[in-house]
């Protein structure tokens, strides 16, 4: 108890000091019941550093983690986005995600224009991050790094958009687990002791269908007229709990059921600490569930081009924890428990698969669905394919409604063996209510036996394609200011309310390559050398010797021995 008091006192002191420094911390949890009966919980933690890391030398850190601040200054980072994800967001049954990430690890970084050798900084940065987050980010090298031209734009304040300062890499094979979560939690000002982060217990988080944690660092405006620059660290964690494995087949959810914890107090360093529950429901299911404990705070937030109603619990409200010692938000369904029928497909989704048979060639197919009833919109597709699948760009076909669809922008960088991957970026117009099929042929390369990973017949992971799209909104919405609105709606800047930005990822692919026999390098070396020696030997023989009439008088050693044996046998000699 004394410790808690100490923390509170410190918090008061810090708040007093931060009156001048102005650093702030906000935390937020969003619970979204999904159409399939599963539930998505999205944590957002936002730490703001009110100093410009680019200009001044910051030596004193309060809430902002020092380790990241130093990395930003050292490697002149403009923006950093890092994702660790396990599982795949099923857009078809779960609806559109707030922030999707591809399975494995994904890292994209904008460097400042003062950087001369971007590749060197990138290499060092990936190794540093690998240490900070206990991940295999050091496997990021030139064979999986690309420089997209249009798919990734800076999300924060930026005066440069020269894409040569951008590096993007994914590691689809990366396995995410608690060793990645612990360093991530340590970046929070309150750690995982109090506040919403106390819900993050590894044992429950990794027992879920989808788990994605991310770190976003970007410069933002400190005030509305943007005279000063602050740095924002946004840590976000999304987890989807399965109705059958976690909820025992019932759609009733509570914080305790999900995390085996309840919220007992907010982080004392936070200036905002809220729990949002998506209570707008879907269509006919409206008001089919009730949220306990009841809250009379409701907020309308524009999400995915729609006004959504959220029940809000403000944990910092004085006296909030006086009535009850802890907060266990629960959703209770009134209607029939399961099966609300086939969910309505989302406006935009995509899927990808490999077709063909055998280990020689294959086709990568991407299906993109535009379910908007009357609006066409363009989509930017980014494909990164490793060099060992040799893409043939002349076989690229894009077919919409049975007709050839010509991309209005295409950027292709072919792969170099053992050096860099293929990069294909295209801008494709999607007509309303349409399915677009993109297919491209590839050839599977035979690698050197040392280049195969352990268990080569498991296959090789191909990173997901990235679809960036500006979707027209159903309603025209006005956007709120950054500081006041909820965190989950403010990651992607939107210029006006008529459309909203979304980035989707398709499934990663698993492709088999032909393999040599790993057990017999010695045999192969010996046999091939023997054949070469047969060639060499027979030519050497013919080149160096001459024809001669055999003279029977001279015999070799063999003949002498033969004659000796013949004499012993009593047979006339040769």
């Amino acid at each position: 108890m004394a410790a808690v008091w100490a923390v509170v006192v410190c918090a008061v002191l810090v708040t007093g000091v931060s009156g001048t420094a102005g650093d702030s911390f906000q935390e937020e949890l969003l619970l979204t019941p999904l159409r399939s009966g599963d539930i998505a919980a999205t944590f957002q933690f936002r730490t703001r550093l009110d100093s410009d890391l680019r200009r001044e030398k910051v030596s004193h850190y309060r809430l902002f983690p020092k380790v990241l601040g130093q990395v930003i200054s050292q490697y002149s980072i403009q923006e950093l986005h890092l994702f660790f994800t396990q599982g795949f967001w099923r857009t078809r049954s779960w609806g559109q995600p707030l922030l999707q990430a591809p399975a494995g690890a994904e890292l994209w970084v904008w460097f400042q224009d003062s950087v001369t050798d971007v590749d060197k900084n990138w290499k060092e940065l990936t190794n540093i991050l690998s240490g900070i987050f206990c991940a295999s980010l050091n496997f990021i090298d030139s064979t999986n790094t690309v420089t997209p031209t249009a798919s990734f734009k800076p999300l924060g304040l930026a005066n440069v958009t020269d894409h040569h300062l951008l590096r993007y890499a994914t590691l689809p094979r990366e396995i995410v687990c608690t060793e990645n979560l612990t360093p991530w939690k340590k970046l929070l000002p309150c750690g995982s002791k109090v506040g919403l982060a106390s819900l993050l217990e590894a044992e429950r988080l990794y027992y879920s269908s989808y788990h994605s944690q991310s770190v976003h660092i970007r410069p933002i405006c400190r005030d509305p007229d943007c005279s000063k620059v602050s740095w924002e660290l946004r840590q976000s964690l999304t987890v989807v709990f399965d109705m059958y494995t976690n909820g025992q087949g019932k759609r009733d959810w509570s914080l305790f059921k999900m995390f085996a914890r309840t919220v007992t107090e907010p982080c004392p360093l936070a200036t905002q600490s809220k729990i949002y529950v998506d209570s707008s429901g879907y269509d006919k299911e409206l008001d089919l569930f009730e949220v306990t404990p009841p809250s009379y705070l409701e907020e309308q937030v524009p999400v995915h081009g729609d006004q959504r109603i959220y029940t809000v619990y403000d944990l910092l409200k004085p006296g909030f924890f006086n009535t009850s010692r802890n907060l266990n938000v629960a959703l209770r369904w009134k209607g029939s428990s399961a099966d609300s029928g086939q969910p309505r497909p989302p406006v935009f989704h995509a899927e990808r698969y490999v077709s063909g048979y055998g280990l020689q060639t294959g086709v990568i197919n991407t299906m993109i669905y535009n379910n908007h009833p009357y609006r066409a919109f363009p989509v930017m597709i980014l494909e990164t394919v490793p060099w060992y699948l040799r893409l043939y760009v002349h076989t690229l076909t894009i077919i919409t409604k049975g007709k050839e669809n010509k991309p209005s922008y295409i950027h292709y960088v072919p792969a170099k063996d053992r050096q860099r991957p293929h990069l294909l970026e295209m801008l494709i117009q999607l007509p309303p209510n349409s399915i677009t099929k993109i297919s491209i042929q590839f050839e599977r390369a035979l690698l050197k036996w040392t280049e195969y990973p352990p268990d080569p017949n498991h296959g090789f992971y191909i990173s997901p394609s990235v679809l960036s799209v500006l979707i027209p909104s159903v309603k025209n919405l006005k956007t709120n200011k950054l500081e006041e609105s909820s965190l989950f709606s403010t990651l992607f800047p939107s210029s006006d309310g008529s459309s909203y930005f979304m980035r989707l990822y398709t499934e990663p692919l698993l492709v088999n390559l032909p393999t040599p026999d790993f057990s017999m390098p010695y045999n192969v070396i010996c046999l091939t050398c023997t054949v070469v020696a047969v060639g060499y030997g027979s030519f050497y023989n013919l080149l160096t010797r001459t024809f001669q009439v055999e003279d029977s008088k001279q015999g070799g050693l063999a003949k002498k021995i033969a004659n000796l044996i013949r004499r012993l046998r009593g047979v006339p000699p040769l």
């Binding site: 048979y357 055998g358 280990l359 020689q360 060639t361 060099w387 040799r390 893409l391 043939y392 760009v393 002349h394 295409i410 292709y412 960088v413 072919p414 792969a415 170099k416 063996d417 053992r418 293929h422 050839e443 390369a445 035979l446 690698l447 050197k448 036996w449 040392t450 032909p514 393999t515 040599p516 026999d517 017999m520 390098p521 192969v524 070396i525 046999l527 091939t528 054949v531 070469v532 047969v534 060639g535 060499y536 027979s538 030519f539 023989n541 013919l542 080149l543 010797r545 001459t546 024809f547 001669q548 009439v549 055999e550 003279d551 029977s552």
Partner: protein, 435 residues
Amino acid sequence: MAAPLVLVILVAVTIRAVLFRSSLAAFISERVEVVSPLNSWKRVVEGMALLDLDVSPYSGDVFHETPLIVYLFHFLVDYVEIVYMFTDVLTAVALYLAVKEYNKVSFKQQKLYLELNKYSAGSIDLLRVPTEMHYVPLKVAIFYLLNPYTILSCVAKSTCALNNAIIALFILATVKGSPLLSAVFLSLATYQSLYPITLFTSALLFLLQRQFIPVKMSSRDFWLFTCQYSSLFLGCLTVLICHSFFLLNSWDFIHSIYGFVLSVPDLTPNIGLFWYFFAEMFEHFSLFFVCVFQINVFFYTVPLTIKLKEHPMFLMFVQLAIICIFKSYPTVGDVALYMSLLPMWAHLSRFLRNIFIVSCMLVVCSLLFPVLWHLWIYAGSANSNFFYAITLTFNVGQILLVSDYFYAFLRREYHLHHGLYLTKKDGTEATLVLK
């Protein structure tokens, strides 16, 4: 003589036209035996597609053709099938004319040697007669045009057919005794695939022989002609390479073509010896063995030139075969070229030791290639070793074939000078051995 040749050409063109129209064409053009990363048509199309996208075709590792080919097909892409059929016909006609001319030359030479009494009296059975030589050019044309290997190569639109045409024209120009054209075609062939540079000495020797210049270190004419021919060759090569540079405005193609041929980064299976060897090689020995294997291809030139300096045409044949066996990305089109020259050496058949076994080996291997490929890649019931074993056997067969011809050639030469029936000092029949 022209009528049978026209007939053969018509038959060959019909077969190719039918195959081009059939569904087999797509299947054949994916076969690893027929196309290699260097000459596959799919990659030529890819290179043109990259040019259309304003991407240098050499910035990636898919396209390894020369800039001239990509620009040639940029204009001819709509008539590509006709171009390939025409190329094959051109090769056959060039070989036909070359062999016809060579027969004349060699007959004259034989007559001269007889007059000079260089041949033994007992070798009269070995002399070549016009009736036997009459059908050799036609046989060569037939061996080229109707060889299944050539047909497959043509239907797959492998640019190997173009290289063969250039080499055939080079042989024709050399046999006709034109140093300029010979140097031009040799430099074109070298520019296309690098390895034909080893044909330089044989062409030089042939041209020297035609101009009655003795191959002597002390002879001034010899050095003069050698310098003249090599400067012609190097000049043409420089022009070609500079021309390619100006077409694309970059030197990338040098590394992308010749670096690719020499360092063997692409291990796509083929009928050669390199792919599996370097897939299984220990990394730190890789460079060493690449050097050894590449030196192996080029090195045979020196001893062969010394041994066969009187017989440049046979030297050329052996060189073509060695290139085909030991090059980094061989295809059956290369095999077809030197095999089509076999009828030229039909008079050696008396001395061939194991031609039947070798022919059976080559035929069986050719049939087993697709079978074992299917088992490995599609059925999954065999592994890479099966296909590898067949490539080994096929190459052993080729080596035995060439060394057998070489042996027979040397033996015939010996008999020509010492008589066909050799006797010992005591009058009994003697046997001939290599010592």
